[in-house]
Symmetry: C2
Subunit: 182 residues, 2 copies
């Protein structure tokens, strides 16, 4: 991994683990084992770190949707199952952006909204039901929220954000679609 990527990952993890306030240039540099000058060579300002994180997120979302399509996954199932994997790069990057969004100009929030709408559309295309698609998106957001509350443990079997929970959700959604299609 390039040094630049390593620094961006360190920034992201500090935002997630210690909060936006603790993710200072000093902290990023020290955690990544580099001097502040070294960090500032790759990212000329703190805002540049945020920008790079957003750009990385947009790329990850595109890759996620491409992979979903190329491997022929069901969008609704794919969305719930990838959302629950809080250890993935996509989920961690998105969670970090959600944290810092209010302090940023509109671009970060725009990127988050755009990603949500792309997933929503993919699910609508699959199941042809706007409201059910919204339910699935909301459930995914709820899972992510609760995963964060538990400290973001990957593969957790928490009552609110575990693997088993997703299986229950899928059964419930399957039941729902049955009655709505009847």
């Amino acid at each position: 991994m390039s040094r630049r990527s390593k620094l961006l990952e360190t920034f992201r993890d500090l935002v997630l683990n210690e909060g936006e306030r603790a993710a200072t240039l000093d902290a990023v540099a020290a955690t990544a084992g580099v001097s502040k000058g070294g960090l500032l060579y790759h990212f000329g300002s703190r805002a540049a770190l945020v920008d790079a994180l957003r750009e990385h997120f947009e790329q990850l979302v595109t890759e996620d949707l491409e992979r979903m399509r190329d491997e022929g996954h069901s969008p609704s199932s794919w969305y719930l199952r990838t959302t629950v994997d809080y250890s993935s790069e996509l989920e961690r990057t998105m969670a970090a952006l959600v944290r810092i969004a209010p302090a940023q100009e509109g671009e970060v929030r725009d990127a988050l909204r755009a990603a949500r709408d792309r997933w929503h559309q993919a699910i609508v295309d699959e199941i042809g039901d706007e409201q059910m698609a919204t339910v699935i998106i909301l459930l995914g957001d709820g899972i992510a929220y609760n995963a964060e509350l538990e400290g973001g443990v990957a593969g957790s079997d928490s009552r609110f954000a575990g693997d088993r929970e997703v299986e229950h959700l899928e059964q419930i959604i399957a039941g729902l679609r049955t009655i709505r299609n009847a």
Copy 2:
């Protein structure tokens, strides 16, 4: 409203509107129209502001549950309908605590978890179905997440967090419970 309450509210709104990073003692004092010394008389440190916000949240949750019970509301419906009202003191206080949670000791996260579990239990007591109760909690969390993404507009008719959306959710949940009870 007491000056102390006014200052706490200002801190909370700064966290929500500008982010944790911008909610400094200087900013709180200036926004509330008081000097920094005046602020520090009421809250001896920044940590004291966070503590007071958490205590206020715990009290609001208790009042919310008492009101729900005393007025005889359906817990699942009450939860979804109060969650969508992003302008309420409870929702704003909770959202602010979610923002600052990672930077805090365990107490803030404990309070958030405890509140979630109290609402979950109330819904389980109503509908007698653990998994459906979890679905309702997750939908509520998803609504809150999306309300934040839209800037927390009260009474919004957003596709993801509006009043009409909650009516759809309630119809869907009602349908679900019908088939699960059959």
